[in-house]
């Protein structure tokens, strides 16, 4: 559906030169939610804006359903729409309905078709009773719903969402998740850029993690979780080991004391040069009673942080 090949972009100004995207390639499929993750300044927004043609890349090609978006921007724009970061997608002084009519017209929609789509998407996004409200008077959550509604109004096969849950309350963020899932079920490709790991975990089929303008890793959320599975263990003791043991262990692993009297050590072998045998070697001296040994599955946020820090390679 969307194919990005060897994308490169450098921003040049009198003061500095910033290589925002160094060589990024990926392909997405129809009906897929594809997440683009990375820390601030990783090159996510530049990648999204390059796909949309808001930024002209230095090198690389972008294809949307075989159409070269760099060479035929007009055709490509008929096939994609976007919600960009922040409140930059709606006209604050127009009502919800007027926003639909204006932005629909920008995409070439009009007449009966536009009115039908307006009713469909406003119902889907739960804003059908807000049609006459001025967009600036809506809550942040409803403004974001309107922005998404406007993006899906032209019924394009590709939808790019840049930080769609930023600044939203939990309830609104959950609603946005449902909408993204619904879009994918309808066969749309959703390219998602976000810092919201709960959102990524809940809706993404595949994840591309970029850092410093380069692809760090790529896979399904399941594959990325698998990558770190069983590399972390938690050993829980019946009672706190002696100070000598704790001192030795603290040089090797993360220690944690819980309020209920339990004392545990967390060992992440992807970040530690020690093995479980090294830990037991220290424990053997005193043989403290072990309550349990659990393998820890890190959540997606932890996985992301480890990948960004380069833990994967250890």
């Amino acid at each position: 559906m969307l194919k990005v090949e060897n994308l490169k972009k450098t921003y040049k100004s009198k003061k500095r030169v910033v290589e925002a995207v160094k060589n990024i390639s990926f392909t997405t499929n129809a009906g897929e939610v594809f997440a683009l993750l990375g820390p601030n300044g990783a090159g996510k927004s530049t990648t999204i804006k390059s796909i949309l043609g808001l930024v002209v890349p230095d090198e690389g090609e972008i294809y949307i359903n075989e159409i070269n978006a760099r060479k035929d921007r007009k055709k490509a724009l008929f096939m994609m729409s976007a919600v960009l970061e922040g409140n930059r997608n709606i006209h604050w002084r127009l009502s919800v309905k007027e926003n639909f009519l204006y932005f629909g017209a920008l995409k070439g929609l009009g007449g009966k078709r536009l009115k039908e789509r307006m009713l469909e998407v406003s119902e889907l996004l739960g804003i059908e009773d807000k049609l006459n409200t001025i967009a600036g008077n809506l809550s942040r959550g409803y403004q974001q719903r309107l922005a998404i509604a406007i993006a899906i109004l032209p019924d394009t096969p590709l939808i790019l969402l840049d930080e769609p849950t930023l600044g939203l309350d939990v309830e609104s963020a959950i609603e946005i998740r449902k909408i993204i899932k619904h879009l994918a079920e309808q066969g749309k490709t959703v390219l998602l850029s976000t810092h919201d790991m709960n959102l990524v975990e809940a809706v993404s089929d595949r994840v591309l993690i970029i850092s410093d303008g380069k692809v760090v890793t790529f896979g399904t959320t399941k594959e990325l979780k698998e990558m770190f599975k069983a590399k972390s263990y938690k050993i829980v003791f019946e009672k706190k080991p002696s100070v000598e043991i704790i001192d030795k262990l603290s040089e090797m692993v993360i220690l944690e004391e819980k309020g209920n009297g339990d004392f545990s050590i967390s060992v992440n072998f992807s970040t530690s040069s020690h093995t479980l045998y090294d830990i037991f070697e220290v424990l053997k001296e005193e043989k403290p009673q072990i309550k349990s040994i659990e393998s820890e599955d890190p959540n997606f946020e932890e996985i992301f942080l480890r990948i960004i820090r380069g833990d994967k390679n250890d």
Binding site: Y11, K49, G53, L54, V56, S81, R88, R93, L94
Partner: protein, 248 residues
């Protein structure tokens, strides 16, 4: 394309309707300045100032016409960059140039009747006959279109450099200078507004329309529109290369 025009026209109508009082208050202040100028001419100039009063009235009206059409796009772009809406307009498959051409034409369609009404009031006060030939209104429309072309140059600069408030304010006074440029023959094609002003002045003075000069005026209007669109396209691409479209 028709749908695009309908959409931009609807936006233009809604904005003017919703903020009509705001728009009118700025127009009223322009009216007051006008009346003071003409009143000054009439009171202190004496009867020999007859033609000068008419020229001043026409000059002021042409200036107002230019201000309304020339600065509009830049202020719109500045507001939209500030609000963050500009990127969505760049995502229209028709391109931002088409979007803003239609938007400006919509604004022109909306403001033309209002300016026409203002002209009747202004000219009546200055003692100018309001039963003017059609050619006068055609030239007035051409002047507005040419100002729109110049507005696209300023709009392109605003896209790139964002805060052009000072430039726009400076241009308000710089355009007065155009009214006094004397452009003879084919040179009229290259000088903005002066030929339009000269022709309108001739019509007010009861002279017959110079067909050749009128042609130069039309060519000049087309030329400045094309220059405006070209400069806008240039900056539109430049801003996408520099990646600072949404930065304010």
């Amino acid at each position: 394309m028709i749908n695009l025009f309908k959409g931009t026209f609807l936006r233009s109508v809604t904005e003017i309707k919703r903020y009509f009082l705001n728009w009118m208050s700025s127009m009223i202040s322009m009216f007051i300045i006008y009346f003071l100028i003409i009143f000054g001419f009439k009171t202190f100039g004496g009867p020999s100032m007859g033609n000068t009063v008419q020229a001043a009235a026409l000059g002021y009206f042409t200036w107002l016409l230019m201000l309304t059409t020339m600065g509009d796009l830049s202020w719109t772009i500045m507001n939209e960059i500030n609000r963050g809406m500009i990127e969505q307009e760049f995502l229209s498959p028709y391109g931002p140039l088409a979007v803003f051409i239609f938007y400006e034409l919509s604004n022109l369609l909306m403001t033309f009747p209002i300016l026409f009404f203002m002209m009747i009031v202004m000219f009546s006060f200055a003692g100018i006959s309001i039963t003017l030939p059609v050619s006068f209104y055609i030239i007035m429309l051409l002047a507005m279109l040419q100002s729109m072309g110049m507005g696209f140059i300023l709009g392109g600069i605003t896209l790139m450099y964002k805060r052009t408030n000072a430039l726009l304010q400076l241009m308000q006074f710089a355009v007065i200078g155009f009214l006094f440029i004397s452009a003879h023959g084919w040179k009229a094609i290259f000088v903005p507004i002066a030929p339009h002003f000269a022709l309108m002045k001739d019509i007010l003075a009861g002279k017959s329309l110079d067909g050749v000069y009128f042609m130069y005026t039309i060519l000049g209007t087309i030329l400045w529109l094309l220059i405006g669109f070209t400069v806008f396209r240039f900056f539109e691409r430049k801003v996408r290369i520099s990646g600072n479209l949404s930065l304010y």
